[in-house]
Symmetry: D2
Subunit: 462 residues, 4 copies
């Protein structure tokens, strides 16, 4: 493979250095974007008269057939090329001869690669948003079956107050909505055209960057050529969005692992999304959830990697920037795996409604309701909290539950309550507790139905 | 200090555990937000009849005078309080008596602290955006003096093509513009109201969350109470924005360090932004730039910290979330230091125009122009690149520069050029090279002036 | 406060820049080390004749009384000093006059600060090792009560095979042992003397570095002055050790949180190490465990910070290195909090032995034992695994447990087993399963007792 | 491919989940270790009578021929296997029939994979140490040519004091020595045997772990089976060592990039380790150094990844641990690229001795020597520093250098010096400055020669 830069050099490049240097093993996936960008560039070179119409046509036609052949698997990128740009240009030269050398007029690999990566990432932002939405759809579908499914709501992994499962699942819906917001905003910053920046200073040829931007559907031009070839903040931003998304998914994954444990028993996962053990015949492991949780590390690591690469780099292009692609690609691939895997896991999960309900029995999770009741009777919340705290302590010491407190005990612990024992009983039921939280965003089934509809509409509207 | 949760407990908390647990040493800075949120909450409790108008008024008035006294330094937060919420409530109780205990009706520290942090961060986003804009103003001011200042443009820290200093500085303007975009978008996601989520499930009191949102100028409500108290994606997003901003600043800082070295000599920093050595009397060190570069580590670390904290946490609130504040506060404080410090460094820097110009002499940085010239004569770019590469190699071997190539040598190396020696001479001048790059975003002074105006307008428009 | 480097400067340093630059707010904690190092340095200057004996004595005496007065709180570091070195020297000058200026002969702040930090960290390595050992002692104490406490052993948070609690706790003992190994090795690399490197190049004064090393009990000298003042790998290594230690602690913390949940119910934490809720009177939260888990983020972040700071720094000292201290100090402080907190949590925890035992009932965790039994009858393990897998599937489908399989069912599922039903019953008991794993490192109580003794001895021996 | 755990499952695993789950694409590289470990395991099973001698022999022989055939490329791992363990066992079964199923007696994939990874990493530690030593050899070789090559020593990238190039290069020698220390210590913790831990609890078969350890040359046994299968601190430690090593390399890389810039001009890199530009024919880029610096990000990211994965994982094995391998492998591969690449870059570099010497002229870097001279005349260092600072300021203001100060000027600035003008001249020479720093570890050529010999011996001795 002929190098694109041989003229100035006497010596041969060392084989190890070539291996260190060459990016084809990972940037090969950009061939579609590379050709797409080159077609737009060549078309513009023709339109502006920098190339003759014939030259431009010949190059564009060459690129188009090359694309078709690559797509069809009838030709392959040469393994010995330095990078995807060299590989594509070399294949083009095989087809249309030395005129292929005119394609690189008024451009450099520096602006070319930045354009390729932006085209790639723009499409991936869209694809990932679509996959997140599918996961959100699934959350809505499952939630719709569980508006009345009562379960313990946890803080500190302690039973805090009862909630309904739909409410719990919708919490993830909203996290994912913000992830979609972030990815969409990121896409806006990705979709800006670097081409025309050439090596770093712009070009002396009278190119038309707006022409290229229109062809490639970029929203706007990058206004500074040094910035265009040397910044990678859009990749760092994408990886930060991905890290936050994975953080959210890791939390859902953790809950699936917990709920699937024998101790919780809140969910049974489908055989299709679990695996077994090579030694313990009884095992059925929540692998998907564990791998989602584990792969969070990989994505965090990719974010650390790009931030480290960029730290303290002077302008403009430095070879360090070649290290931007693998963390990006790995993150995209990871998300394409975990999003549908988690969706399938949720969609096929069997939630154990009875077990969840039983778990709320005798767990003191309606203590706040009792305190609130005292407040409505005129006590300050701080007093009420103190009184109920004493009642709970008494119950634990005597192996009682709130539901089974008898009147004499109530009398002893809080005289004002003794007179209203039946009201108190009603308040202490998990059902009543849940029903009472009708505030917007609260866990009362009717509130959750409203919330569900808002969620549903937001998904339709976006 | 009375605990807010003593009733249920027999034993005393261990002193070390208290120290581990208590957040007042760092969350004390939220006292303004805590009072502001409590005033809105109490006002709403009055408006909805949950408290009587008198009760609400009394609480609000107590909070207002407390705020004034704290502001005036006439009262201090009690050191032994568990957190800022307990500290404020305790001071309030000293003033208005047990009725202070009614303030916590229909709310929990879980939604309270989330509200406080969001109020804090909303204001800080605005303050930081203002500071970034000031830095951008300074970049514009300095750039305006250097539309014609030619300097080497670098790739791989090698001279690549000449550029003008204004162009180089404006590259940072645009990076910072995107940082402003990101922070503004983040502010939008910060500015959503969690209050009303109570502990995790919402409240049974008929509160009016829209009322609170209006008072506190939140853009919208968080629609799910579990999400409201347990997610911290807005902090992670802010820290990611900050990390990317610091990455940009670290690049500028690196360039200042380089340019200030004797070898580059492109800038002389003002005494007011440099320090000396305790041993070497001649030293004048670019401390600001070095510290900006170094503090990038701190901000990256803070992002790592929050992402690690959140990974795999089940819903809803967990005490781990207490670890969200210090990385946030430290990052905000760091940015408030480095942004103005860098601004002052730039504003007072004396750029060494002559030294920059001299640096472009004989550096082969117009070789691309020569290749482009050959392309205009009909050669393919690949051929032209090869020819010019050979010429450069010849010059280096014979200690020549492109500018001093004589006709016989040109004749030998590229016969077509020999006939056009004077044209070639013109092309090889640094001035001509810069002038030629008139593409939008390119380095020709007239293009940079246009770019500068676009930048100027964008700042005014925002 | 007079600067140590004013002579060469015309202008005043900007106030903000001073604030950015000054390190006294955090390096003040090094005053003991700074004085200790200075005493050694001055003593050596006297011994080598660089200072007269009288001068050296006067300086050493001044430093000693200053140390005593600082220790006693009778004098304070001046707030306006640039750093701890300037602060100490300024206090010394107040006492002994201009001769204090001779202390800085043949040294620079560059080697001085490196020495101070190494003295500090050496002591902290020892202190932290002592605290880890105390935690290990506690693990041994608790384990000693639970050689026979059977509980589910988990993989994938599924019941895998029964284990004894002592065995589970000892797993953490060994993790911590490796942490001690790492910290001890790190200490060895910390304990090397940089003093004498001066600014970067060594000094022309005939100092005796071995003399200083002996006084300060350093193991060896750093052999290269540039290396001595510019590398901070020993801090990065310490932070990596700390991150791995916190990782281990976070795992133990996670288990405490899980075991303390109502669903597991394996442990009841003492009131002294838990806190309550401001809204939910019944809550008793495992705050220590959660904070240990959460503070892992902080320590990981500190490691990221220092690695980022050091990346790509040219030799020798750069101001970026000032950013080495806060991550270090914060990590040390964090470990001093979490190690004893976790120890107290464990020491006061009441393990619910019955609950653990019950959790192993009917959980199929002896399925491997059945497969192993078949192997002993001559089946290959793969066949046996298959057969037992089918038996488990049958049990689940028919709501049976392995313990309650009757002979006809066994007959149907695995004829060879039917003949040996009573042997099979024996094998399927949790007790028998645990007893059988007598391999070194296995969970049989007698093996665990041996393991415990090895652990005990290793602690004594170190 | 038959799964190793099918018996208990009804449904088929989803194809996507399989792809998520399967590790063969990356753990295939462990086949040698997997076979080596299996041979040792089978041999021990025979020696202990768990298998008959014939069975053991048959399995061992099968594994040996399989290894030979895989080595020779005559057989390939089946692509559809779940992981390398399944792949190897399946190939074995093809060769020796169902008896292959006996190999997995008394072991689980959990202890098997931990053993494989430790065998792999043990060898890689050795290989990497060997490569670091080669780089150290190169540093020694290059240094040996530059004991007298004077260059500016930098702090804050300002000229601080002159040093010799050998001294500067040896700084990296010592950093790398500590990296070797760390890797060697890490190897010691890697080289502990997990096999025999089985799934998590040990095994009921009477295996002999010492026998296996001896065969596989492990230093010791892991004493706790839960720890053995669930901790990965040895990988985190290795990645931390690698991160610190890359940090060191990134600093050397940064210096190569700087020194190779036209402004510094301290080094000319060989054509064999540089590449050119696709647009700028004159460019010769220090790609190796830039990629080394950039790949630091990747290794830091890998460390972040593993620490994140392990945070908060309960015992024992969790599927998240599958994510331990790729960051490890990627780091090993990266080091195998960058270490020799940097070595070749250094070995072939032409240091520009004259340019370095010229750079020290008139740079005030001997100002400390002048101050030290005044100290020797009896001034305190603080006074001397002040006086010399004034002299430097005078020189800068009047465009003078220290070397060219005339007697009247000296007289005016420091009367005591005027009498000793010739002595002062001698002191101010760069040569004299370097010569004077004869302290151990200092930059005087004779000291550096001693240092070089110590370094040389340390390399031989290790």
């Amino acid at each position: 493979m002929r190098k694109l830069w041989g003229g100035r050099f006497d010596g041969e490049t060392d084989a190890l250095i070539l291996r260190l240097n060459n990016s084809l093993p990972f940037d090969r996936r950009l061939w579609r974007q590379d050709i797409e960008g080159s077609i737009a560039h060549a078309t513009m070179l023709g339109a502006t008269g920098i190339l003759s119409p014939q030259e431009a046509d010949q190059i564009v036609a060459g690129l188009q057939t090359l694309r078709a052949d690559l797509e069809a698997g009838q030709v392959e990128l040469p393994e010995d090329a330095e990078d995807v740009h060299a590989a594509v240009e070399s294949l083009l030269r095989e087809r249309i001869g030395p005129i292929a050398g005119k394609l690189h007029t008024a451009r450099s690999r520096n602006d070319q690669v930045a354009t390729d990566v932006r085209l790639y990432l723009r499409a991936e932002c869209d694809a990932l948003v679509a996959e997140i939405r599918q996961l959100q759809e699934t959350l809505l579908d499952v939630a719709a079956q569980h508006f009345e499914t009562v379960m313990p709501g946890y803080t500190h992994l302690q039973h805090a107050q009862p909630v309904v499962l739909a409410h719990h699942l919708l919490a993830y819906f909203w996290m994912l909505s913000r992830d979609v917001e972030r990815l969409s905003a990121c896409r806006g910053r990705v979709n800006r055209l670097p081409l025309g920046a050439a090596a770093l200073a712009g070009t002396g040829f009278p190119i038309d960057r707006e022409h290229v931007a229109r062809q490639l559907q970029f929203d706007m031009l990058l206004e500074n050529s040094l910035d265009a070839v040397s910044d990678r903040d859009f990749i760092a931003e994408f990886l930060a969005c991905a890290a936050i998304l994975m953080m959210h998914l890791s939390r859902l994954a953790e809950e699936i692992v917990l709920w699937n444990s024998p101790e919780f028993g809140f969910v049974i996962l489908d055989d299709s999304v679990t695996t077994g053990s090579s030694i313990m015949p009884q095992k059925k492991n929540p692998d998907v959830a564990e791998l989602v949780r584990g792969k969070t590390g990989r994505v965090y690591g990719n974010l650390t990697a790009i931030l480290t690469v960029l730290k303290g780099l002077p302008l403009a292009y430095n070879k360090d920037l070649q290290e931007d692609k693998e963390p990006l690609f790995d993150t995209v691939d990871t998300l394409h795996l975990v999003l549908p895997a988690l969706r399938k896991t949720l969609a096929s999960a069997r939630f154990q409604v009875e077990r969840m309900r039983e778990a709320t029995a005798g767990d003191f999770s309606t203590a706040t309701d009792l305190a609130d009741y005292l407040v409505r009777q005129g006590m300050t919340f701080r007093e009420a909290h103190e009184v109920v705290g004493r009642i709970v302590r008494h119950c634990i010491a005597h192996h009682l539950t709130l539901e089974t407190l008898d009147v004499p005990t109530l009398q002893a612990l809080c005289p004002t309550l003794a007179d209203r024992a039946s009201e108190v009983q009603a308040i202490l039921s998990v059902q009543a507790s849940v029903q009472s939280r009708q505030v917007r965003g609260g866990t009362a089934p009717q509130s959750v139905r409203v919330q569900w509809q808002v969620a549903r509409d937001s998904l339709a509207g976006t």
